[in-house]
Symmetry: C2
Subunit: 197 residues, 2 copies
Amino acid sequence: MFLRGKVAFFVTSNVHKFMEARLVFAEYKVAAALLRVEVHEIQDDDIENIAKTSAMEAGGKCNLPVIVEDAGLFIDALGGFPGPYSSYVYRTIGTRGILKLMRGISQRKAHFRSVVAYCDPKGSLRCFNGRAEGRISRRELGTSGFGFDPIFASSNGRGKTFAEMTIEEKNRYSHRAKALREFAKWYVTSFRLRSRY
Amino acid sequence: MFLRGKVAFFVTSNVHKFMEARLVFAEYKVAAALLRVEVHEIQDDDIENIAKTSAMEAGGKCNLPVIVEDAGLFIDALGGFPGPYSSYVYRTIGTRGILKLMRGISQRKAHFRSVVAYCDPKGSLRCFNGRAEGRISRRELGTSGFGFDPIFASSNGRGKTFAEMTIEEKNRYSHRAKALREFAKWYVTSFRLRSRY
């Protein structure tokens, strides 16, 4: 049973992200609540700045301690593309576009990065980072997860793509799970300070 | 000679854009002043929202009537990509990346869109739009201009790319010149109302 009030308010419109977070938080006996708040993401090459700004805006709107997560796929051979704009790139050219851009390129190193930004109603801000190393696969593999999961072969997952893993398995290796875990550890230990919410 | 005070304050860090604006404004006897103000562009699929938000932020910071311009290249066969994120896409995969994505695609229709957002110190906001139709060329042509100009063959410029044109010639057909011209016409006629600045 979760302690009363030990809840992390996750501002997101992405149910996949929320499902991943729910399982990670459960490891720390933290309940996850999905909050839908309209925030204006900024354009910035640094996803930490994007997450921070969104967390401050969301926190200000809700008067609750909130977290926002921002992530990106950074492909070495493409100068870090699609990076902070992964979501838009996914919606337009998609995984097929990335595979086309990577045609004939043998250097397929890539990483996913995630930043979880926490903001409390007093405006205190804290960021937690996660990173997953891997390679862009030659074709789409797997149907789980979302976004670029079918073309990201995780270095730690024996070359399986994130889309070939269950949520539990992906959470062992993923950038997002790592960042969420860092947040959860801190959130649990600093809980007494926040008990007034 | 320009009338005293008939100045448009153009917030941009892109000197090419400023040079284009300067020539367009000269047609209307409006002087262009380049203002460098740090603004946080938002992520939005609609460039009008991006330009508006930036103009409001810049206007608030400077206490001057300012204009901000946002533009994007929208390629039909790529679902509108790179669209509002053209600048980032240019800096990462560049024109070569776009040409690679377009390999084997015969439907090469594209358009450039520009929005000039004006904001005065009282927060009044006005937007002016421009659009240029064209096609993605098979290879880079020309060295003038900036960004995706070398691969955008303008429908009205006898198939020349924007990068094969002088600024004057590009200003005859370009999305940006059209939006700037709409703004300049309005700015000149509404000048008396703004004479207090």
